[in-house]
Subunit: 157 residues, 3 copies
């Protein structure tokens, strides 16, 4: 049986999302079964770049406006400097030929990393499936625990 | 032997505390032995709502005043907006019939989740046992490591 | 075979670094093999106190100036109050005879805790080996995963 690695991506910041995907892609390259469970602000990583027309209440719309729309819009957990920090990080990553976050996500999907959106958080924040990128699974904490119980490397980021 | 799950709750924010208790309650429902070890700002989750009269030094009093008093007073790690964010989250949780943090804590205690307050941090911040909710255990990092060494799902939140 | 414990120290804050080293030293005292993998802002914990003359580009110099130089300069994740918070924490730690972060690092090295600096982040942020304290190992995410796969207590801080 393959080794299992799971990551809960709770945080909605560029630097933490990059760390999560680098570890996930590394583990997948080592032939681990890998699950990333996106919950709370981490779900913003999975939003489509463009606004999607949906029917939702005012509060849910407000959450949608206030939260960053997708992997390209995330800020940094430190030294964000009103958006300058993420530009600097993206610049040095490009300079060193490191994969960008959207590329890391694509690679993860190619390697079969299971990307799971937390349905409870989606309900709370009013996020709908058509607002998120393709190729996701949708589940709750029980599914996460099922995977994590088989794993040894279980991280909360 | 039962599966063991441990969570270090280091952060003192509402969203992270909710995540910790949802995972803990889920694991307990799956018949895991579950320990949450509250350290640093995470201890604020366990403070009683009302001020408790204690004898302590000025610096310890200052920590007591500056830190949020209990689960109902915690802020968010993101979009706190001076306390508006937590109200919004509490509102949508109620609307979706999700358990509030105080209810999640109560459920955890009913399910036998072991809630351990880190005695070293209590000493440092000048928090005393009578300032914290009932039904806790008191221990140090050694006790945490004892539980974590038997677990596979060990998270730091 | 010894139990393995690994910690990814991603955060560059005093309180989180202290938590990481207290857990690491505790695990080492229990005869675990312990690895701390320093990545992103966590690398700042390992910087030497004094500026080291190096040749680097302007952007890398800018990162070097903006990030805290070493364990004594880190801020808090909460209640930093422009540097007053860390002084308060250091004061109460001294008062309770708790080890300071530099002492915790020294103890970890004496106990054989493996301190690994993430080479990918070093490249990105332009940090060079002579800017970091002695006695480190240098490796990438593959080495981290190798250790973590043998461990049960694997934390991301």
């Amino acid at each position: 049986m393959k080794d299992q690695t799971t990551i809960v991506l709770f945080s909605g910041e560029l630097d933490k999302a990059i760390a999560a995907f680098i570890i996930a892609n590394g583990a997948a390259a080592y032939d681990h079964e890998v699950t990333i469970f996106f919950t709370f602000w981490g779900l913003n990583t999975l939003r489509k770049d463009d606004a999607v027309k949906t029917k939702k209440g005012l509060l849910e719309k407000a959450f949608g406006w206030m939260m960053p729309r997708g992997a390209k819009k995330l800020g940094l957990s430190k030294m964000n400097f009103g958006g300058l920090g993420p530009q600097m990080i993206k610049h040095v990553m490009k300079k060193h030929n490191a994969l960008s976050l959207p590329q890391l996500i694509e690679l993860a999907q190619e390697q079969g990393v299971k990307l799971v959106a937390c349905t409870m958080t989606m309900d709370l924040l009013g996020l709908q499936q058509e607002e998120l990128i393709d190729g996701l699974e949708y589940a709750g904490v029980a599914a996460y625990l099922g995977d994590a119980s088989n794993g040894k490397v279980n991280l909360f980021i």
